[in-house]
């Protein structure tokens, strides 16, 4: 069986700065792996490498059995990878919560096609799963950081991905809300048999949920659990 995500000796630089210098991680299907490390150690960069936004100058990246360096277009692969970005979109854009979640379905709908009934029901199912259905008519930019994070999670799940990438999903939350969202993520990870890669600066928080934990330090990865 191929690994869902496999990085072998990956080196990445942005301009002249080396961000990653020899990172190797693997996530088998349905595994929950966490990557921890201090701010600025390249955790977000690592996620961008996995979804193909950044290409490493050395090393091999394999996602769902595809060697990313051999693919011309990654759009078909990205439809299988849900992402919850760290930052929330701060621009004042007129988008309701339900529309933002439905956006997760856009890639799979095909160009020109309008959302079908099953796309809407999938979006509502995910809003219910993460507990945001009650304010589905609200505008996204009017929500708190934590609520926006849940919207991003629902959107990523509405995509029905095989792989879920989470970039500091608890950044804007207080302690109890952090545990709540981690529980939601963990439950959905098992229910939907996802391969989950979560990056966080808080090793303690992710410890109980993770099958494996890698520490990212000075551009290198170390398996610590």
């Amino acid at each position: 069986m191929h690994h869902s995500v496999e990085l072998m000796d990956v080196h990445v630089r942005l301009g002249t700065i080396r961000i990653l210098s020899g990172v190797s991680i693997e996530a088998k299907p349905c595994e929950f792996i966490s990557i921890v490390g201090a701010n600025g150690t390249g955790k977000t960069t690592l996620l961008k490498v996995i979804n193909g936004t950044l290409r490493p100058f050395h090393g091999r990246v394999s996602v769902l059995g595809y060697d990313l360096s051999r693919l011309r277009s990654l759009n078909f692969l990205r439809r299988e990878i849900g992402i919850v970005p760290q930052r929330s979109n701060s621009i004042r854009f007129p988008l309701r919560v339900e529309e933002a979640v439905l956006m997760g379905r856009y890639g799979k709908m095909g160009l020109v096609h309008r959302p079908r009934k099953e796309d809407w029901s999938k979006a509502f199912e995910m809003m219910e799963a993460v507990g945001i259905k009650s304010f589905c008519k609200k505008l996204v930019h009017e929500l708190s950081g934590g609520e926006q994070q849940k919207v991003a999670l629902a959107r990523a799940l509405a995509q029905e991905p095989l792989i879920l990438l989470l970039d500091e999903p608890t950044t804007y939350l207080d302690h109890s809300a952090q545990s709540e969202i981690m529980e939601i993520i963990h439950t959905l990870h098992h229910q939907r048999e996802l391969t989950t890669v979560l990056v966080s600066h808080d090793a303690q928080l992710v410890e109980q949920y993770s099958d494996k934990i890698y520490l990212l330090k000075e551009g290198k990865s170390h398996l610590i659990k």
Binding site: N51, T53, N75, F76, L77, R78, R79, I81, G82, I83, P85, N89, I91, R92, F93, P94, L95, R96, E99, A100, M103, G104, R105, Y106, G107, K108, M109, L111, V112, R114, P115, L139, R155, Q159
Partner: protein, 272 residues
């Protein structure tokens, strides 16, 4: 109503009907994709084109338009290749093309006012060919929004998310920039580069103040574009004021009205 007996007024009216509805939609793109510098860059690129046209004894307006089209096609891919934002690259081209235009005007002994004519425009001097071009571009903009609404919505909201869900984000972004260049080039002929905002940006700004969805934003921006265009044209005729300036005045009043309406709606929602 007798003003409609003049062919130049009929032409202006048809142009406003098309451009008033379609061009503000491009203004919405400019606002949400933060492409305001691109609009300035296009103005200066057109000026350089005009100067080259005068030097080569070719229609300066046509050359100005061609320069705008070519640069709007090149800017997207170039910004990606150079890893610079379109905004930064626009700033670069804005100053470079202006400098080149001045050098050409000075060295080739071109009459400055002739070159700058491309920046003024005149909605009352449109030909049938102009109307056909305006109509065609307007229909292209409307068709694009109608067919690819969901893709456009995702890209305007967040390009990274559009890419992450597997949409061909780059292609759409480049097409958007191209359409923007096309619209600006045609608007220059209609209303002049310096007053493009009347048709493109101001109605969009007003719409973003009061809209609660992207569909509403597109609808209101088109409505305001049409409203300011038509009333500006008619008022300018009766008050003997330049048409472009009158359209801008009406559009500015609409923005002020939307701002007041927004404040009122906000306080009403708070009380409720």
């Amino acid at each position: 109503m007798e003003i409609l007996n003049f062919p130049f007024m009929q032409h202006a009216l048809v142009a406003i009907l098309f451009a008033g509805v379609a061009f503000p939609i491009i203004g919405v793109f400019i606002l949400y994709l933060n492409l305001i510098p691109l609009r300035f860059a296009m103005m200066h690129i057109a000026l350089l084109g005009g100067a080259i046209g005068l030097y080569l004894k070719v229609d300066p307006l046509l050359l100005g338009l061609l320069c705008c089209l070519f640069s709007s096609m090149a800017l997207g891919p170039l910004s990606e290749k150079m890893k610079l934002g379109v905004g930064i690259l626009s700033g670069y081209f804005m100053t470079l093309t202006l400098a080149l235009a001045f050098i050409l005007i000075y060295k080739a002994d071109i009459h400055v006012l002739e070159a700058f004519n491309i920046l003024w425009g005149n909605i009352l001097s449109l030909t049938i060919l102009d109307l056909m071009i305006i109509g065609l571009i307007s229909l292209m903009v409307l068709a694009m929004v109608f067919l690819f609404f969901k893709e456009i919505q995702a890209i305007l909201y967040d390009r990274e998310i559009a890419m992450a869900v597997g949409l061909p984000e780059k292609t759409f972004y480049y097409v958007t920039i191209f359409m923007l260049g096309l619209t600006i080039a045609v608007s220059m002929r209609m209303i002049g580069a310096l007053l493009i905002d009347a048709f493109v940006l101001l109605p969009a700004m007003a719409a973003t103040l009061i809209s609660k969805s992207l569909k509403q934003t597109f609808f209101f921006s088109s409505l305001f574009g049409l409203l300011s265009g038509l009333s500006g044209l008619i008022l300018s005729f009766f008050l003997d004021i330049p048409t472009s300036s009158m359209i801008i005045l009406v559009a500015s009043l609409i923005i002020a009205g939307c701002f007041v309406l927004k404040r009122w709606l906000f306080s009403y929602e708070k009380i409720r």
